[in-house]
Amino acid sequence: MIKGLAPLAAGLALAVAMQLSAGPIIGPFAVKLLMDIGINVILAVSLNIVNGFTGQFSIGHAGFMAVGGYVAGCFTYYGSYLIWGAPRVQAGWLSGGDLLFVGGCLAGAAVAGAAGFVVGLPSLRLRGDYLAIVTLGFGEILRVMLQRTGDVVTSAEEVRAASWPTLATSLGGSLGFSGLPYYTDLFWVYVFVAVTLLVALRLKFSSLGRAFLSIRENEIAAEAVGVNTTRLKVRAFVLAAAFAGIAGGLFAHEVGTSLNPRELGFQKSFDIVIMVVLGGMGSVSGAVLAAIVLTLLPEALRGFSEFRMPIYALALILMMILRPQGILGLREVWELPWLRRRRS
């Protein structure tokens, strides 16, 4: 059911349909929620490749998101100045602005993937929990470095006059990168959601995915049967980082978000981790479900926002003690026993 190009085409069609119909019908707030859900789905599913499939523990996913977001933001913001003289949204579907934005997202993904390689290589060579510490440290270092960047340049003449390195370090510092054009819409979010889901599902049921799972189950045994554990762990990590970079690019250009170093810190990483853990370690559809539920839940619990984090933390501990594999475990939704029985 996930072979060939048919599912990708279906995803594209769905994205187009959402883009065309959703806005007028459900209103801007619901559209914003749907975009948030999509971005969180990309984040949770990609982190699941590392935490769920290979069983390594990364808690710096928001760091890669920040890398992607800043690179993409830099791309569209200063790119718009250079091409059109102002960082305004270029109207029209698949216009030059859209292409610049998608190019920025892909560039962000590439840089985030490269960052993932640099961070992952020293820590993934070793067994144990070093990845957790190094990713956490990476997030903090990144935050410090982003806070030290200069103010955003805000006029076409100055942008033209400035050199590339100056532009690349004028990212708004601790106030955040403001003034980014709002290119993110339902179409682009769900195109990338479709790609992410497809990659994750195809990966899971491929030989590479089996090798990932073997590392998770028993690293020594996996090595003994000829799995190059270090290389595969790094590969999974880089892939996840690249998808986080795309999510960051989408996040940066979304209406009503602010791209600042604080927003994409440890707290955000932890939100993504809890999505993966609750949904099921290694279950793609579980991660999707958890991402949807945990995006909507804070909206429902607005009155209790003070207790949100304590409740999350408690839920995490209880989950680990009572059902350590997550709600779905390794299974996908359509593999649940009670669904199977009904079908046959």
Binding site: F57, G137, E140, I317, M320, I321
Partner: protein, 300 residues
């Protein structure tokens, strides 16, 4: 002098990380929050004893009392955490324990931020001891607070060192850390030893919390990023010294303190967090088992 003072605090915290890692092989992420708890309990006690007033007389007795009370409270907290959150997972995969530890850490942070506990505002620790410059050695000013901090930390570390290497209980701890199953077969009560390790590590963290609050009176709210960073640096100290190695943690802590402060003083003060993590990555690349650690072949 700052290097010694801060370094010995890092060392105190690192000891808790390294002892737990030595026995249970997981990173106790909640450890840094126990340290925060120690600092905030010290603050609450100091305010409760009336030291927030401007004319309060500094007193050594009160300082020692606060220190001991904070250590006892955090020891109890450490015992509870181990009993409720970690013991049910004794046989679970390590990833699960790690996630639980992060859960406990966030629980402590956020419960600490609730209105009826410590709140979300930074507070100023009242000075329980009088600080003055005692004089200068080779152009370095020696503050009384630094001297007391480093002295207390070193004394606690010496006590710990004797405890681990010269008592029956210490021998039991080392046996459990070496091989849990064999230790249990030899008649050691493993659960009790693990509980004791947590109590010990947590009370050392509380002592570090008190000393830290003395040195840097501006206490941030419990979930503030600076605390997480402090805990991380202490963990880095444990890794650099050789995780699971008690003397390595002491060495690593003092080393980290020096690297951080000298880097801040001579290179750039804004990048002080970066030096420590660069050192971590360097150590992981060159000598993953740490300075004093031994590479252990993994058993299948």
């Amino acid at each position: 002098m700052d290097g010694v003072a801060v370094g010995s605090l890092y060392a105190l915290i690192a000891l808790g990380y390294t002892m737990v890692y030595g026995i249970l092989q997981f990173i106790n992420f909640a450890h840094s929050d126990v340290f925060v708890l120690g600092a905030w309990i010290s603050y609450t006690l100091a305010v409760g004893l009336g030291y927030a007033a401007a004319d309060a007389e500094p007193s050594v007795l009160a300082a020692v009392g606060i220190l001991l009370a904070a250590m006892a409270a955090c020891g109890a907290a450490g015992f509870t955490i181990e009993r409720l959150a970690y013991r049910p997972l004794r046989r679970a995969p390590r990833l699960n324990v790690l996630i639980t530890a992060i859960g406990v850490s966030l629980l402590l942070q956020n419960v600490g931020q609730l209105k009826w506990s410590f709140g979300t505002q930074p507070q100023r620790m009242p000075s329980v001891l009088a600080d003055r410059v005692l004089g200068s050695v080779a152009g370095v000013q020696v503050h009384l607070v630094d001297l007391i901090g480093a002295g207390t930390a070193l004394a606690l570390m010496l006590v710990l060192d004797r405890l681990i290497f010269h008592t029956r209980l210490g021998r039991a701890m080392r046996a459990v850390s070496h091989d849990t199953t064999v230790a249990a077969l030899m008649g050691i009560n493993v659960d009790a030893v693990i509980s004791f390790t947590f109590v010990l590590g947590s009370s050392l963290a509380a002592a570090a919390g008190f000393l830290y609050a003395m040195k840097y009176p501006g206490l941030n709210q419990p979930a503030h990023a600076t605390w997480v960073l402090l805990g991380l640096k202490a963990f880095v100290a444990a890794v650099i010294g050789g995780i699971g190695n008690v003397r390595g943690a002491m060495l690593g802590g003092i080393l980290i303190g020096f690297i951080e402060l000298f880097g801040a003083a001579y290179l750039s003060p804004h990048l002080r967090d970066i030096y420590v993590f660069s050192i971590l990555i360097l150590v992981l690349l060159v000598r993953p088992s740490g300075i004093l650690g031994r590479a252990v072949a993994e058993k299948v």
